[in-house]
Amino acid sequence: MPAWLPRFVRPRVLKEQGIVGMNARNSRYIAAWNARRFYPRVDDKLQTKQLALDAGLSVPDLYGVVRTHRQIRDVRRQLRDYEDGFVIKPAHGAAGDGILVIEGWRGDRPRRAGGRAMELSELDDHISNVLSGMYSLGGRPDVAMIEQRVRFSSVFDAVSHRGVPDIRTVVYRGYPVMAMMRLPTQDSDGKANLHQGAVGTGIDLGSGRTIGGVRYNKPCREHPDSEQSIVGLQIPGWEQLMELAAGCFELSQLGYLGVDVVIDADRGPLILELNARPGLAIQIANGEGLDHRITAVDAHMVARETEPSAERARWAAEIFARPDATRPAKLDSEPAADAEPA
């Protein structure tokens, strides 16, 4: 069958694979486990950060908050102190909109990620736009957060084009069930958006190694720009990351949660943001459906007291481990013992 032809799969096959569709996600997970009153905890990034700090979870440091246009000038003076740069982001921004990354200063002018220097007035404009709600849902007035610029671990430099690779973990009732790393490419213009051509790669929860992923819905084992293998990459601080993700359940109280984490070179995994409606692309990146894992969590939860997050992370790492899938690509051609059954 030619590759461009749409390929149809029978619902029964998807069901066997445990693939979760939109309708099932909305009614069985989101409607059932995510009480609406807890949404502000994740939709408002300032609140998320505060809750995370209270809970002792690692987040990028908060340098300041701009709430009114009048504060912009005062803040600007203060920003000069941050030699290593900073990030300005709207508290209610969606999908990474309105995030301005400043790497440092060139004289009096802030230097953007990518090296371009900008005028101070542009910085003011950006904050002003954030405050007027340009990036928030429904255009409601917003506040601008100024926080530490994450210095990304160099582990992934070879497999990410310009942008920032982030790690999305889906946490179900406090148990991490699936994770993927999103690697920006030239096509995706440095954005970690699978839709635009970023590579999504699944992660073995047991070891924190990448499984090999999907790009434009096709299997992919090398980064398209650098041609480096994306299979078997070890994510630093994986155990810590799993605990961090599991711990987000307590602070958000959401039973079906997406946790976005970046790896800081010095501080290790940091929570970037939480998502009350994590999408289903994670199944594509992992080549596996969510349903079986969620059923396993439900079975585990029957008649059990709530476990501490470290306990939950350990259980998930053990149960959902997939060591078979993390071998580098070349091993696949050998007739290995764990060859996939036909």
Binding site: I19, G21, A24
Partner: protein, 511 residues
């Protein structure tokens, strides 16, 4: 219990909706087709007489409740007469009175009849009747005939039928021939039959009926025989023995009392004229509903003022469009801008027609997008930017209208009915998607919205569906039930079968 809550609700809603619908269709005969017409009959009874001096009183028997027709409308034309109608047994009596009639008098009674099928409702059994006093040789002939007929029939109805046939085909020397007179006619025959049936103690009665023939001016009232079979009165043709009235025969009055009685008058006669009319079925049904004891039609949409009716004709289609959206989004998985924006677009397509609508919509949205991208450079705040887009959209609409009017394209004038705020929001959302997810996504969603709008329009502009929902608004309950049902659908969307189909090669096979 909680598990069954929704299924029970769904069943209940559909049962009520379909039940009322079925009742209105079958019992009230409300039309399923938008341009259904109903046959009505105008029957005119014309009374003529010459007064002989003194106060004149005219008594005409008129129908009260016909077994197979309903009276939609009636009227009396009688200048200078006082009119009074009294119910008498199963009929009514129209009594005209005047003090000093002069010259030939003509009075009219007109009724519009609507056929509503044979009434088989039961009536009380009057009990066995007394045997008439026959004189010989009739007594022996009657008894012999009765015995003979009884041997060849099974029940009252077949008895009467066989008896009628025996009289109709009487051999010259048979017992039946005794009862056939030389100046035999339907009325005579009916009287004879009633007497013979009484010999068998069967209650029977005479009925005056009219055969409805379009355009006839002098219709002779026919006499029919009705036999009570202990449950109801069964009509029998006294000449052929056929059971039940043909569809073109309307019962006028019951019993053997004369149709017309005139005091202080002579040469009195009543003549019947019939003409057929075709009326809008809905109007007929409505008037028919007035004659029934049902309250359902009082609460129908048909009783609203005309302007309101037209509004509701459109509004009642919105739930249908919304259901299409639900289906296309949750079962098929089409992506659209704004949840119900396509329904509103579809509503405006009703005015512009589909092709013109799609062209105009595409035109405005693309021009609007261009302007929106320009506004992006001006770094405006959100609300002022939206307001600017609305103004630009309206100016674009005006420009297109003026231009197309100059070009003689009148259809494009309906453009003014486009919901401009919705258009502005669409442009805004589309530009956001364009920037965040790229032009491909924005255009896909734009086309998706248009396809959904066109599909919704296809259904919402359907006259048949519009008629059904307007005349039977209870069907909305069924729509509601279907919507609730889809609301619980947790299966895959059609597009997901393709989305996950493409990555089947990458799927880990279950161990």
């Amino acid at each position: 219990m909680k598990r069954f809550h929704l299924p029970i609700l769904i069943v209940l809603l559909s049962a009520v909706g379909l039940g009322v619908f079925a009742y209105k269709v079958s019992a009230l005969g409300m039309p399923l087709q938008p341009d259904a017409t109903a046959e009505t009959w105008q029957v005119e009874a014309r009374v003529r007489y010459q007064p002989t001096g003194g106060a004149g009183t005219v008594e005409l028997r008129i129908p009260h409740r016909l077994p197979n027709f309903s009276i939609l409308d009636e009227g009396f034309v009688s200048r200078g007469y006082g009119l009074n109608t009294v119910t008498q047994a199963e009929d009514r009596l129209a009594q005209w009175t005047t003090r000093q009639p002069r010259g030939e008098q003509v009075l009219y009674y007109r009724a519009t009849l609507y056929r509503d099928g044979n009434d088989r409702s039961e009536s009380e059994y009057p009990g066995p009747v007394a045997v008439p006093d026959w004189t010989e040789p009739f007594r022996s002939a009657a008894e012999a005939l009765i015995d003979d007929v009884r041997g060849r029939s099974s029940d009252i109805q077949s008895f009467a039928s066989v008896l009628v046939n025996d009289l109709a085909n009487a051999a010259p020397s048979s017992n039946a021939a005794v009862f056939i007179e030389s100046d035999d006619n339907r009325a005579r025959r009916t009287e004879t039959l009633i007497e013979l049936l009484a010999t068998a103690r069967i209650p029977a009665r005479q009925v005056t009926a009219l055969q409805l023939v379009d355009g006839r001016r002098d219709i002779e009232p026919q006499t029919w025989l009705e036999v009570h079979n202990t449950r109801r009165w069964v009509p029998i043709d006294p000449e052929t023995g056929e059971i039940e009235y043909p569809s073109d025969v309307a019962v006028w009055s019951h019993g053997d009392a004369p149709l017309l009685e005139v005091t202080n008058g002579e040469n009195a006669e009543v003549r019947f004229a019939v003409s057929r009319g075709v009326q809008d079925a809905l109007a007929t049904i409505q008037r028919f509903g007035d004659t029934l004891d049902t309250r359902i039609l009082d609460f129908s949409t048909l009783n609203l003022p005309l302007g309101t009716q037209n509004t509701y004709r459109v509004l009642l289609m919105v739930p249908l469009g919304a259901m299409i959206i639900v289906f296309l989004r949750n079962v098929v998985g089409v992506q659209t801008f704004g949840t119900f924006m396509p329904v509103l677009i579809a509503l405006s397509f009703r005015e512009t027609q589909l092709l013109a609508g799609i062209i105009l919509f595409t035109l405005i949205v693309s021009l609007g997008l261009a302007v929106r991208f320009y506004l992006e450079h001006l770094r405006l705040l959100l609300v002022p930017r939206l307001a600017a887009v609305v103004s630009v959209v309206i100016m674009l609409m005006l420009g297109i209208s003026v231009l197309s009017h100059q070009l003689g394209l009148e259809r494009a004038l309906a453009l003014s009915l486009f919901p401009m705020v919705i258009l502005a929001m669409t442009i805004e959302r589309m530009s956001v998607v364009w920037e965040e997810h790229g032009p491909a996504d924005a255009i896909t969603q734009g086309i998706g919205s248009l396809v959904v709008a066109a599909a919704a329009y296809g259904l919402m502009a359907n006259r048949q569906l519009e008629h059904l929902l307007f005349v039977f608004p209870e069907l909305l309950l069924v729509l509601l039930a279907v919507t609730l049902l889809i609301g619980r659908y947790t299966g895959y969307r059609l597009t997901e079968l393709f989305r996950f189909g493409r990555i089947q090669d990458a799927m880990r096979r279950p161990d």
